[in-house]
């Protein structure tokens, strides 16, 4: 299961890397979330 553990480490690193990269190039990903009760966002 060493490849599983390696994959989990790479997955976490990749996720953090994606966050840092998006912040660096200043394209913020949406962190707003709806759990079914939010009203539709106006356009």
């Amino acid at each position: 299961m060493r490849m599983f553990l390696l994959a989990v480490v790479v997955m976490i690193a990749g996720g953090i890397g994606a966050k840092v990269a998006l912040d660096t190039i200043q394209i913020p990903a949406s962190v707003g979330f709806s759990t079914g009760g939010a009203r539709p966002e106006p356009e």
Binding site: M1, A7, V10, P40
Partner: protein, 339 residues
């Protein structure tokens, strides 16, 4: 009250009413001075008979006039959003329950009837390398991120209905915040895993006549026959294409949702969300079946992803053409013994 006082009150009320009417009449022409023109719907919105639903049905948006920089805030009501929200709050919850709980129930019944599919004669001592280290790595990268994406995605759809009553507001809020961050950023390792699997396993997953025969014989699940198969059998090829095509669809729609208004407008994002949720639910159902057969459903199957080596007897039963080819290729007639 004297009659004079009564007359004075009536006159004052009349003057007030007239002044209000005049003021409202004066505001109408202002609409042409900088305000966005109302959509031409053919409706006379001054008529009191206009019903709300009729208005919402004929106008794509109800917009006003604002002076703040964010012009999107001028939209008061977006009628399509109501349909989208109603679908999310109602039918989508039932579809989610049908896909997830329905699939789990099916697998439970299948297991109760069929049990674990055993290796005929039990495990042997010889093994064969089925997946190399890199293949196992990319599989687990995709699988691990997929599990978190599926759980956090189900929370977006059904968390409010299912988890909120169990967890309470504070815990649910904390969980949902982290789930959303995970959903956003672990999408990238998932996409990487999909691309890698596509590149590495594509040549093994082109459908052919052997797969047709495999399906005709029920894939070995019906009865005790084991139809011949290459490295991936017909069922595994179906799983591969569900993952690749479904993962591709999730990637496109997910990126549109992750970066609001970069790719499409609010209507486009609502459609993207419906497609994203629908494809994800189908994939969740398919992956539950994949996880079942790769773990408790079949003896020896998990070894392929555990350390890469499978029991030779298992390989000959379930992937006879592949096993014969591998043995002939290596000239190894006495494969490695199991550890």
């Amino acid at each position: 009250m004297s009659s004079l006082a009564l007359v004075k009150r009536i006159v004052l009320a009349g003057v007030f009413a007239l002044s209000m009417h005049a003021a409202s009449a004066q505001t109408l022409p202002d609409d042409s001075a900088g305000r966005p023109a109302a959509p031409a719907t053919g409706l006379n919105t001054d008529k009191v008979e206009v019903h709300e639903q009729q208005l919402l049905g004929e106008m794509r948006k109800l917009q006003g006039f604002i002076t703040i920089p964010d012009t999107r805030a001028a939209t008061l009501v977006q009628p399509d959003g109501r349909s989208w929200r109603d679908y999310r709050r109602g039918p989508l919850l039932w579809i989610t329950a049908a896909c997830v709980l329905g699939m789990l129930a099916l697998l439970l019944v299948f297991y109760a009837v069929k049990g674990e599919i055993k290796i005929a004669g039990g495990r042997g001592t010889a093994t064969l390398l089925r997946f190399g280290a890199f293949e196992r790595f990319m599989h687990w990268l995709t699988a691990a991120s997929w599990c978190i994406l599926a759980i956090s995605g189900l929370n977006v759809v059904a968390g409010r209905a299912v988890l909120l009553p169990l967890m309470g507001n504070d815990a649910f809020s904390l969980f949902s915040t982290w789930a959303k961050y995970s959903h956003n950023f672990l999408a990238f390792p998932f996409i990487a895993g999909i691309v890698l699997m596509f590149l590495v396993w594509l040549r093994h997953n082109i459908p052919n006549k052997i797969d047709v025969e495999w399906f005709k014989q029920g894939g070995g699940f019906i009865g005790n026959k084991h139809p011949p198969s290459e490295k991936f059998n017909g069922g595994q090829k179906v799983v591969f294409w569900i993952v690749v095509l479904g993962g591709g669809a999730l990637t496109v729609t997910g990126l549109a949702l992750m970066f609001p208004f970069y790719v499409t407008d609010i209507t486009g994002m609502q459609l993207a969300q419906l497609a994203h949720g629908g494809v994800a639910l189908l994939m969740i159902a398919a992956m539950l079946g994949h996880i079942y057969i790769g773990s408790v459903g079949m003896e020896g199957a998990f070894d392929a992803m555990k350390d890469g080596r499978v029991d030779l007897k298992w390989a000959r039963e379930h992937h006879s053409l592949w096993a014969a080819k591998e043995l002939a290729k290596s000239g190894d007639t006495s494969p490695h013994p199991a550890e």
